[in-house]
């Protein structure tokens, strides 16, 4: 929006406030003492001249012109106490705005004129540079160490399995034993009756398992009959009727 629209001045203006400030500066050095009314006149004349030259003005210049025309009439007309803020107050605000913009413009120029790094003052062009070396400090305690060794040992130490020698009754022995004993029984007889007497608990369990398999084998051969009332009930054997 800003830029070349107002080519009456070769530099162009940075907006209507910039134009006002330049007009004000031409009027007086101290912005506090400028005549706002005269400034308004100058601005309006400027805009009028741009119009006659058929220059295209940006909207904000026209907006400013309209507002200044209002301010001018308010300053000239008899004071209406109802209107707030008063025209004098508005004029003062405009003057303060111009002062502030002027101050900032001057401050910018003073900043640019300072001894600037890389233009007026210089740092070393090839500093050695500072380095930060990361040094790792490893943390591990004795417990970490020995438990790690325990873990490795447990994982890789060959495990030796020793099976104890025990008394057992083989399937063949059980078949022979039941086949021999069944002949002398007539009635249903519990399978436990066929186990060897006086056997220790381990041998008894082995004998029971083998005898059960033996009973199944003999039943398959038709040499015994099996009977059980229900699951987990005693198992009975007899010679087929």
């Amino acid at each position: 929006m800003i830029g070349e629209q107002l080519t009456l001045d070769l530099d162009g203006w940075e907006g209507p406030l910039d134009l006002l400030l330049n007009l004000a500066r031409a009027q007086k050095v101290d912005l506090k003492e400028i005549s706002i009314l005269a400034l308004v006149e100058q601005y309006l004349a400027y805009v009028e001249r741009a119009r006659t030259l058929q220059l295209e003005l940006a909207a904000d210049y026209l907006v400013m012109a309209a507002w200044l025309a209002y301010l001018k009439s308010a300053l000239l007309l008899p004071r209406d106490p109802e209107i707030e803020p008063s025209p004098e107050e508005l004029a003062l605000r405009l003057q303060l705005r111009l002062e502030r913009l002027s101050a900032m413009r001057e401050a910018g120029a003073r900043l640019m004129a300072r001894d600037r790094l890389g233009r007026d003052v210089f740092r070393r062009d090839a500093p050695e540079g500072l380095r930060t070396a990361r040094k790792a400090s490893w943390s591990a305690g004795i417990f970490d160490l020995i438990s790690a060794y325990g873990r490795v040992s447990a994982r890789t130490r060959p495990v030796m399995h020793v099976v104890q020698d025990r008394e057992v009754m083989t399937l063949d022995a059980a078949i022979a034993r039941i086949a021999a004993l069944i002949g002398s029984t007539i009635d249903w007889t519990m399978i436990e009756t066929f186990l060897p007497e006086g056997a220790g608990e381990a041998l008894r369990r082995s004998a029971l398992a083998s005898s059960f398999l033996a009973a199944l084998e003999l039943a398959r051969q038709g040499k015994v009959e099996l009977h059980q009332r229900g699951p987990f009930e005693p198992l009975y054997l007899r010679v087929p009727a």
Partner: protein
């Protein structure tokens, strides 16, 4: 020169070798325990009036050539970018008013900020966004950086040229956007 003690020598060497301005904590990380600030102040005195100066910029310190040596050192290549008038004014407004919103900058200048202006200042490393203002719309505010102080040779923002006078004159008071708009842009905002 007056002989420097070993601690001051270490501070001197570290700052000399550094490729960035250094804070006291940054220096201490290299030189260890000791009165870094005291050493810096002594060194600054040692170097006052020499061709090299030790200067403070914000909370960081650096060696740089003395300002009056500029004519021996200016380089043929133009290293410092030329700023547009809009950018210079915008930078000044940010520096003297920070933190400041874009709308406030525009109110002071009476014109919209064109697109690249803030970008140029941020790209130069002089300006950065600094939080939002807790008003409706939560506009972003802008402020200067440590790099701004370093580039323009300011110990702190208090050293901004004429800042005390401007403040005393009320020219750095907070911008009342409502009245500024009333004064200039009331009939129709341009943004």
């Amino acid at each position: 020169m007056t002989p420097a003690d070993d601690f001051a020598r270490a501070v001197e060497a570290v700052l000399f070798a550094a490729d960035e301005p250094m804070s006291i904590d940054g220096i201490r990380a290299h030189v260890g325990k000791g009165d870094v600030r005291g050493a810096l102040e002594r060194l600054a005195v040692d170097y006052a009036g020499r061709g090299i100066n030790l200067v403070r910029r914000g909370d960081r310190w650096l060696f740089q050539t003395a300002g009056d040596m500029a004519h021996f050192l200016r380089r043929s290549r133009e290293e410092v970018r030329r700023l547009s008038r809009a950018a210079i004014e915008t930078l000044a407004i940010i520096a003297y008013h920070e933190p400041v919103t874009r709308a406030e900058i525009e109110a002071i200048r009476g014109v919209q900020i064109s697109k690249g202006t803030l970008d140029v200042l941020m790209d130069a490393g002089w300006v950065r966004p600094m939080g939002r203002r807790e008003v409706p719309g939560r506009p972003l505010t802008f402020a200067t950086t440590p790099g701004f102080l370093t580039h323009f040779g300011l110990e702190s923002r208090r050293d901004l040229p004429g800042i005390e006078d401007l403040r005393a004159a009320g020219l750095l008071d907070p911008i009342d956007l409502a009245t500024e708009e009333l004064a200039v842009e009331k009939p129709g905002d341009d943004d």
